[in-house]
Amino acid sequence: MSDISTQPGQQTPAPAALDAASGKPVSFRGGGFAPKPRKLVGLAVFVVLIALWELGSRAGVISSLVLPAPSEAFGAFMDLANSGNLWRHLSASLQRLVIGFACGVSLGLIFGTAAGLSSVARAAITPLVSAIFPIPKIALLPLFIIWFGIGEGSKVATILFGCFFPMVIATYSAIDNVDRTLIRMGQSFSLSRAQIIWKIVLPAALPGILSGTRIAASISIILLVAAEMIGAEYGIGAYVLLAGNLMATDQLIAGVAILSLLGLTVNWLISRLENHFLGWRN
């Protein structure tokens, strides 16, 4: 809003001050529609919301059973950290997330690249992807439990599956969108097929591949929590579920906050990757 209301054109001089000889200045009517970064605003919203919440809880407007004060949630978090269970839950979750995500993304990249480059691979892979991609992977978890056991295998498999399909789709569509004149250029200078793929196609497809990675990362966090809620001793999802069962809303909020931080961290890491590899875009 502030972008619009602060336009200088709003202060047009009064028409009475003008006469026909001196003319009338052309009133400004452009500008705006160009959002600029305002980092402090976002932070302020957080601070104000949490302060209001804390005040509401202390004043008794918000029942602590329904929604505990932020300070209580923070206390629960500190208890968790001091008891040493934080690391136990977090390491269990991170291990599943990293293995499932890394394997899913790598396999997705390989299959997606194959589908992007070869007509036969594309004809073989895309119908399969179209058929399996829309299935909510959590529906497959019971099947995975039967196949891979109740332990780590089924959880990792769920995450792997969840990452694999968006990655395949992102990779082959990114390869489809590579500027064909660049490929013809490579051919016209007698670059080999492998060199064209490695030096032209994949770098050009990287922006699309990285945005696919971003989607795969958020899907894998969702699936991680879901899988942990169905059957796990340790893990952030298990912690949140247990807190809910015990009506320990302070622990519940602490668990949810950890998940939010986890998601933010993963996003930040991918942004760092983008800045590193795609610096040429700016």
Partner: protein, 255 residues
């Protein structure tokens, strides 16, 4: 090395784009090909460099490519085709990498072409930082780096504004005078054709066949804008093309 086109015809499915072309691109000369839009000029160029297979007829390389030529038939594209993630230097090095040159030889070639195209100061720039004219200079430098026998130029100046176009035309003339190169130069701009061509090939509208081959024996250095002979020549070419261009313009796409 000469390039000879013999009885060349080309079809896209049933659509005839080129009909029975016979043409020689002699060593050390620039042959300009002009014609109304859709007459198959660009197709001809893709056929010349082997990016497409002719339906009928053949294209022959006569004689040996010069020693040190890494890629005898080398293109300069209309839209530059530079890799946006590589620097000027990296873009030139890309086309040298497949040939297993020593580091010194690569460096020598890069420095040489950057010097010839007056780009030495922009070695580390990425394409995004460069103007259209500079990008095309980089593309020309890249083409020269492989020491081509024939430069195949596909409307190289069409994506540029008219002032940059003038500057680059002077550059091309300068490059040719320092070291004459063989080139097939496709354009729809008659002025470029009469300024740069030793020979101008006029194609008719689709199916493209050769209407006329005009030899221009004025040395490139004397072909400035004010040369009356050039203006007359350009007028003559335009009259030749005018009706064809008009008819081609009125045709429905993919007709």
């Amino acid at each position: 090395m000469d390039l000879r086109v013999e009885n060349l015809s080309h079809f896209y499915n049933d659509l005839e784009v080129l009909r029975d072309l016979n043409l020689t691109i002699p060593h050390g000369e620039i042959v300009c090909v002009i014609g109304p839009s859709g007459c198959g000029k660009s197709t001809l160029l893709r056929l010349l460099g082997g990016l497409e297979k002719p339906s009928k007829g053949q294209i022959l390389q006569l004689g040996e490519a010069p020693s040190g030529s890494l890629n005898p038939l080398t293109y300069v594209f209309q839209d530059f085709a530079l890799l946006p993630w590589r620097t000027v230097e990296g873009n030139i090095s890309l086309v040298l990498e497949p040939h297993g040159l020593s580091a010194e030889e690569k460096e020598r070639r890069i420095a040489d072409v950057l010097e010839r195209t007056r780009l030495s100061d922009f070695r580390q720039a990425v394409p995004k930082q460069l103007s259209g004219g500079m990008k095309q200079r980089v593309a020309i430098a890249r083409a020269l780096a492989v020491n081509p026998a024939v430069l195949l130029m596909d409307e190289p100046l069409s994506a540029l504004d008219s002032q940059t176009r003038e500057l680059l035309m002077d550059d091309l003339v300068g490059l040719w005078q320092r070291e004459p190169f063989t080139s097939c130069y496709i354009t729809h701009n008659l002025n470029e054709a009469v300024r740069l061509g030793h020979k101008v090939v006029v194609l008719s509208r689709r199916p493209g066949l050769i209407r006329e081959i005009v030899d221009i024996d004025i040395p490139l250095s004397e072909r400035d804008v004010s040369n009356p002979k050039l203006a007359a020549l350009q007028q003559q070419l335009w009259e030749m093309m005018r009706d064809e261009a008009q008819t081609a313009d009125m045709e429905l796409a993919a007709g």
